[in-house]
Structure formats: C-alpha cells, structure tokens
C-alpha cells in the first residue's frame, strides 16, 4: 500500500505503530534484523530511492521538495527513530542491517532538523 494517504495514516496510528513497537523488542534477533531491513527499505522508498542504491553509494541526494513533503509525516519520523534504535542493537547482525542505511537516515535527520530550526526561527 502507498504510505502517502489519509487511509494509511489512520491505519498506522491504529495498528502499525503498536505492531512496530512490539517487533522492535522481539526476543528473536532474526526478527529484529528483518525489521531493520524492512524499515530501511520503507524509509528509502518514501523518497523513491532503492535501498540497494543507498547501501552501495551511501547517502543519496534528496531534493528539498521531497524533504518538505516528508517533514510533516509523523510515520516517517517514527520509522527513522526505530531505525536509529536498531542501529544500537546489542545483536551485531541487527545493528549491521540498520547501519547499512544509517548514513542516509542521519542525513535525513540533519535536513529535517535544520528545517525545523528554520521554521522555529521564523515564528
């Protein structure tokens, strides 16, 4: 399902958010590792970038418009926060999966953060 829709937003709040929070604490590291892969791919797909591109070439360039569109997405921010948490997972295979896209995620965080600062400065 395309995750840029009102329908998705309500489903995310009602079901997905709780499910992701449950999975991030799953006792099996294989599940957490798969979750890291899924979250990485999903965040990349939000910017229409294939996860493999990010893994192979590091941080991809993201346009300011795309960042602007994503800024108001609490789902994206939530997934990013989970990814960053998984990057510090005690199981190496889980952390490794999350770290493969960490550079990209950190760039996103920096861009989002500076946009918030700018918005805050204007008000």
């Amino acid at each position: 399902m395309k995750w840029v829709s009102e329908e998705f937003e309500s489903l995310f709040k009602d079901h997905l958010q709780a499910l992701l929070l449950k999975l991030i604490n799953d006792q099996a590291s294989s599940c957490r590792s798969e979750l890291a892969v899924l979250l990485g791919s999903t965040v990349c797909s939000r910017f229409s970038i294939h996860r493999q591109m990010v893994e192979d070439f590091g941080t991809s360039s993201i346009s300011t418009t795309e960042i602007s569109n994503a800024t108001d997405s609490p789902e994206l921010l939530f997934m990013i926060s989970l990814l960053l948490k998984l990057a510090a997972d005690p199981a190496p295979e889980v952390a490794e999966q999350a770290r493969k896209v960490r550079g990209f995620v950190q760039t996103l965080v920096r861009r989002l953060f500076s946009k918030y600062i700018l918005r805050f400065a204007r008000t």
């Binding site: 395309k2 449950k22 006792q27 797909s45």
Partner: protein, 213 residues
C-alpha cells in the same frame, strides 16, 4: 501435419483409459487412474510437446473436478499431478490463471473448503510455483483472488501454511503492489496476529512481507 496428429493420437491412446478413470464414479478407480497418470506420464521431459498437448486437451479437464473430490487420497494425488503440471511449465498464461483461481477457491472461506492442512499447504505451494513461473505480469483480478485466499490461509493454525502464505504475499507485493491496497486492512490484522506467533520463523517470514511501498 497428419503425422504429428497421428503421433499425438497414439500417445493419447496410451493414457486415455487412465484419464477416463479419473472421472469414474468409483473412488478406487479414480485413485488408480490418478496414480497411474502420476507414475507413467513423462513428467520430467519438459520439452515434450505431446504431453503439453495432452495436458491441455484432456488431463486438465479431468483434474479440475478432482481438486474438490470427496476422497482425500484422490485430492492429494490430483494436487501432486497439478504440481507436476505447473513445475514442468506446461501451462500457457490464461490456463495457469484459471488453475490458480480453482485452487484459491479451496482456501477462500472459513472453515476452509479444504479440510486437510497438508493439502492446504500443497495448494499454496502450487500457487506459489505457478506465480513464479508466469511469464507475464500478474493481472489485478488474479492478484485480488490470490490475496483474498492467502489472507484467509494466513490465519491457518498450521505454521507451514502461514509461512507459505507469507511467501506468496511477498511475491504479490513485488509483482503487483497496487493490488494490496484493497486488502491492506484485513491483511494487517492477520499479520499483527502472526507477528505474535510463538515460532520466530513465522514472525520473521511475516515481517519479510513488504506491504508498504
């Protein structure tokens, strides 16, 4: 042309008795017919055009009613024949789609029309291999039928059926992602349950299904 027709007719004659037995009223006769077809047709010869022709002209029409045969052994043998048919790549796309539709009907209700869990697993394996071998992109109509059936089979208490259902969903998400939209809500509920399953392999396979794109 006449030579090839004659060749096909003589090939067909060798198996016609067994094909007719598959539709017999007597359960033992049906069983023997299916077993004979399974044992004696040259399934491994994937370039056998005579077999391909025989499958399309006679065997498939005999097999379809046996998918819902009242005798479990007949259903099992029928599904084994189907597995050979699809894994040998003998079906053109429209026929493969028709076969998938028939198979999905055995899972698309609760309680399942197919009551034996091993046979439900076999049905899903056949659907998966057929979808993998389809040379054309999957049509939204077919995707909807499969999604509806797989949404129900994901609730199966048999773990292997859950795993196979997740594999099929994963494939549909790759082949026809837009079709997920209409089933997203119901699938999400089943997935939430499967993500709490006691087997970590089931949880892992469930997470692998990429519903969001």
């Amino acid at each position: 042309m006449n030579d090839s027709n004659g060749e096909f007719e003589s090939f067909r004659t060798n198996f016609l008795r067994d094909i007719n037995r598959v539709s017999d009223n007597d359960r033992n006769s049906r069983k023997r017919g299916l077993q004979k077809l399974l044992d004696e047709l040259p399934w491994n010869d994937k370039n056998n055009n005579l077999l391909k022709q025989l499958i399309l002209s006679d065997i498939l029409s005999a097999l379809y009613p046996r998918i819902s045969d009242p005798v479990e052994k007949c259903r099992e043998l029928c599904l084994k024949c189907f597995y050979k048919v699809v894994s040998g790549n003998f079906l053109p796309v429209p026929v493969a789609e028709e076969a998938i539709t028939c198979l999905c009907a055995r899972l698309d209700d609760i309680p399942y029309p197919e009551q034996v869990e091993e046979l439900r697993l076999q049905i899903l394996q056949i659907i998966l291999i057929t979808l993998q071998k389809l040379s054309q992109p999957i049509t939204p109509t077919l995707a909807n039928k499969v999604l509806s059936a797989v949404g129900k089979s994901s609730m199966d208490p048999f773990p292997s059926v859950k795993k196979e259902s997740a594999e099929i969903l994963s494939l549909i998400c790759r082949l026809c992602p837009s079709s997920i939209r209409f089933h997203f809500k119901s699938l999400l509920k089943v997935f939430t349950l499967n993500c709490s399953h006691q087997h970590s392999k089931i949880r892992t396979t469930t997470i692998k299904v990429k519903l969001i794109y």
